[in-house]
């Protein structure tokens, strides 16, 4: 059977000389789930943008139904029957579900917008494809999983035969992933074709029929999902054997950080963290599990000083952190790898060297008599670039020109170059490629082994399971479960607590809240 959609030797070079796609081939048959996997920066997103008409290829051809096509903008791709669900949703928060679905292709009566018809059509679509969502409420009030369904409905409303899902599971809890997969199977059963971009390999193997692997802008190969294992796929993706395993902490040390009856409130006074009690010992990593927005970030902010503690206390080695400023907290050994490296972790326009000493401006080594010691700052940068193998032109290069992985390495280098006593880490490897991920994980465990107490928050459950010695689960600002990490602990178990479907009793939690 001839493929439905075919991309032949696609080439794309961005202004600035970054070769994103170089002779990429993709062949998708009708009615299959076709996964495209690869590390970040492998060129998956660029290929999808070309398929959807956001970018134009410099070389190569696209064939749809065997006929050459070229899209100059998304509208043409939509008209040809291609729909795309981006990782960051394109939904207007205050608009209702049905308004979002029909936006840009509204049913009309005369010059007016036919709301009744829009609602009816959205109802019919969600019925037909088993994507249950109420058309009336505002999208901003819905949970992430439902918003994603709205995005899929949007594509289906425009009669998409081919649906591109860009890392759809990144934002979902395990149960929501299952629901998404049910919907994907329903789509395929009704003759639609799904292109699934991902880098979480177990999911890829579960949902897809065939897999195209990309690496460094090229296609490495196409395989049937029944023919490969997770390990062989990972090897194809990275081009060498990867060991995404880390060693557990040998022993937990002294109590380092003690959090007692802690409350954190939003600016509007809404409780974000409620009555939290937690101990963190030197030399262990405690994983903070939870769907985003359930209090993990607020806890880290309250301890780092980004947000005030509303009630309760947090001690680090006996010193109460509450009254201290962020700088004073850093001085007694708090280090922070924040969630958003671009907005919170780095000054984009400043140089690598400047960023590497930005938290150390009280340090006599770099600042004397109120003047910067440029020589010392530069040699510090050269040493750290070497030690953390950051790929950068030199210490004077602006941080904003680096790739995500290298930016994150700069943050990690700055925070870990002096051994911290308490390390706060949030989303350390979001948008970072496998090689850098390995390196960052190693840096974190090294800091742990040197005696840091680590609080780790991540949207990636496999990362939490790989790194943490203990895990606590947040739901609506409270701890609902605590576990000692073991091979028996699965994402599904964590998921049911994350979604608030289950709660441990005090006694069950006590075991892991040492």
């Amino acid at each position: 059977m001839a493929p439905l959609l075919q991309a032949i030797s696609i080439g794309k070079t961005y202004p600035g000389g970054v070769v994103a796609n170089d002779g990429v081939n993709l062949s998708v048959s009708a009615g299959e789930v076709h996964a495209v996997v690869g590390e970040n920066g492998a060129g998956k997103s660029t290929l999808m943008k070309i398929l959807f008409g956001i970018e134009r290829p410099d070389a190569g051809t696209l064939l749809l139904d065997g006929k050459p096509v070229s899209f100059t903008n998304p509208r043409e791709a939509i008209e040809a029957g291609i729909g795309m669900v981006f990782q960051h949703f394109s939904l207007v928060p205050s608009f209702s579900v049905y308004e979002n679905v029909v936006l840009g292709a509204e049913p009309r009566n005369g010059i007016g917008f036919d709301r009744e018809k829009a609602i009816a059509e959205v109802r019919a679509l969600s019925e037909k494809f088993r994507l249950h969502v109420d058309p009336l409420p505002a999208v901003g009030s819905l949970p992430v999983g439902q918003q994603q369904r709205v995005e899929i409905l949007k594509a289906l409303y425009r009669d998409a035969r081919i649906l591109i899902l860009d890392e759809p599971t990144a934002v979902l809890a395990p149960q929501e992933v299952e629901e998404l997969f049910v919907a994907v199977r329903a789509l395929v059963a009704q003759g639609r074709t799904v292109i699934f971009i991902a880098h979480k390999l177990p999911e890829v193997l579960e949902i897809s029929d065939r897999i195209t692997v990309m690496r460094a802008g090229k296609t490495v190969g196409e395989v049937g999902s029944s023919e490969v294992t997770e390990q062989s796929l990972a090897t194809m993706m990275v081009g060498r054997d990867v060991a995404l395993r880390v060693d557990r902490a040998v022993t937990a040390g002294e109590l380092a950080c003690e959090i007692k009856a802690l409350w954190v409130r939003s600016d509007a006074g809404q409780p974000l963290v409620q009555d939290l009690n937690l101990h963190v010992h030197a030399g262990e990593i405690v994983g903070l599990v939870g769907v985003e927005g359930n209090g993990q970030a607020a806890l880290l902010d309250a301890i780092s000083g980004a947000q005030p503690i509303a009630q309760g206390v947090a001690y680090l080695n006996g010193t109460s952190l509450g009254p201290l400023s962020t700088l004073e907290r850093r001085a007694i050994g708090v280090a922070n790898i924040p969630e958003d490296r671009i907005a919170q972790g780095l000054a984009g326009g400043a140089s690598v060297a400047e960023n590497l000493v930005a938290t150390k401006l009280a340090d006599r080594r770099y600042v004397r008599l109120g003047l910067l010691d440029l020589k010392a700052i530069k040699s510090n940068a050269i040493a750290l670039i070497e030690r953390y193998s950051v790929r950068v032109g030199g210490p004077a290069q602006a941080v904003s020109t680096l790739s995500g992985g290298n930016m994150q390495k700069i943050v990690v280098a700055r925070e870990l170059s002096e051994q911290p006593k308490l390390l706060l880490v949030s989303q350390p490897t979001r948008g970072v490629d496998l090689g850098a991920t390995q390196f960052i994980w190693k840096s974190l465990t090294d800091a742990r082994d040197a005696g840091a107490a680590v609080l780790l928050s991540s949207a990636d459950l496999s990362e939490l399971l790989a790194l943490s010695d203990r895990l606590v689960v947040f739901y609506r600002g409270r701890l609902v479960a605590a576990f000692l990490n073991s091979a028996a602990l699965t994402p599904e178990t964590l998921g049911s607590y994350m979604l608030g479907l289950a709660t441990q009793t005090e006694d069950e939690m006590k075991v892991a809240l040492r």
Binding site: N73, P74, R75, I78, M84, F86, H88, F89, S90, L91, V92, P93, S94, F95, E99, N100, L103, G104, A105, E106, R108, I111, G112, F113, K154, S266, A268, G269, Q270, P271
Partner: protein, 316 residues
């Protein structure tokens, strides 16, 4: 005090308020459209001022309605200029807006001097026309309420009726037509309409053009009805008051009408009060509309903040 009350509840005062409100309302509607599309139009003041002068000069040579259209057109052109710099050349839209305001303040005086042969203050030497009032005195035949209707409704500018109709038309456009949905979507979260294939920048450019046109129309009303003729800086901050009225009106056309009426009423007050309080300094009285603007905005943002708090609390 009693005299003041008697003045305020008279039908003559109502007519004054409608007159002072009309230019403000037109500019506020312009500000509303631009603001909802996500392109804040801080150049309303300059567009209004240029609208004033264009209308006055054109009216010397052409019928009044051509002059009104010219005022509208001049504002629209300035809106297009704004769109070109802010959207195509990616300049900061606030700075572009201020550049237009500054150019309008200087440029109108320059053009006035050119048109009048050297007068840099007013267009008193030009024989400019006025917008004719709409005569509804035939309503007087209605028994009982006839005379009241006539005193309230007759004699307003054509543009006052147009402005009232525009409140409804813009509401219908924003909430009942697909393009209104586009415009609001573009303003709130441009990535969404962009992904749906809606040309975001074109929507914004049209909004700025319409916004400028409405401000220019407000200028025509100001210089061809409220006053007949041009005077330097005759808009006197109305464009900025209109920006405040957009927020005060909760970014809704009907709210815009109410906010413009509020400010118009205080401006009307500033018009009638000097006659009643002879010993109060006229400068202080003229400050009233501006002080009310500031107070209203402070009160509004305080209330908005409270409302946000209440909302997040009830959600938890």
């Amino acid at each position: 005090m009693i005299e003041l009350l008697a003045t305020v509840i008279s039908s003559a005062f109502f007519v004054t308020v409608i007159r002072t409100t009309t230019p403000l309302l037109l500019a506020t509607l312009g500000g509303l459209i631009a603001d909802l599309s996500g392109a804040l139009n801080v150049a309303l003041e300059g567009q209004m001022l240029v609208g004033c002068l264009t209308a006055v000069i054109v009216s010397v040579y052409a019928p009044w309605y051509v002059a009104v259209l010219a005022g509208l057109g001049s504002g629209a052109v300035l809106g297009l200029v704004m769109a070109f710099f802010a959207l195509r050349l990616k300049a900061d839209i606030i700075l572009v807006g201020f550049a237009i305001n500054i150019m309008a303040a200087g440029g109108t005086v320059f053009a006035l001097a050119m048109a009048t042969g050297g007068d840099k203050g007013t267009s008193i030497n030009l024989v400019s026309k006025a917008i004719p009032p709409v005569d509804l005195s035939f309503l007087g035949v209605i028994p009982g309420i006839g005379p009241v209707l006539v005193s309230l409704l007759s004699g307003h500018s054509v543009l006052s009726w147009v402005a009232a109709f525009l409140v409804f038309a813009i509401w219908y456009f924003l909430y009942r037509m697909p393009w209104g949905l586009w415009l609001r979507g573009v303003g709130e979260y441009p990535a969404a309409p962009a992904a749906a294939g809606i040309p975001v920048n074109a929507v914004r450019a049209w909004s700025l053009v319409v916004s400028g046109g409405l401000a220019g129309l407000g200028g025509a009303q100001l210089a061809m009805f409220n006053y007949v003729g041009f005077a330097r800086d005759m808009t006197a901050g109305r464009g900025f008051i209109a920006l405040g009225a957009v927020l005060l009106g909760a970014r809704h056309p009907v709210g815009a009408l109410l906010a413009a009426l509020l400010f118009g009423a205080f401006e009307g007050l500033a018009v009638v009060m000097p006659g009643l309080f002879a010993d109060a300094p006229a400068e202080l009285i003229r400050m009233i509309p501006f002080i009310v603007t500031i107070l209203a905005l402070v009160l509004f943002s305080y209330r908005a903040q409270r409302a946000r708090q209440m909302r997040t609390l009830s959600k938890s």
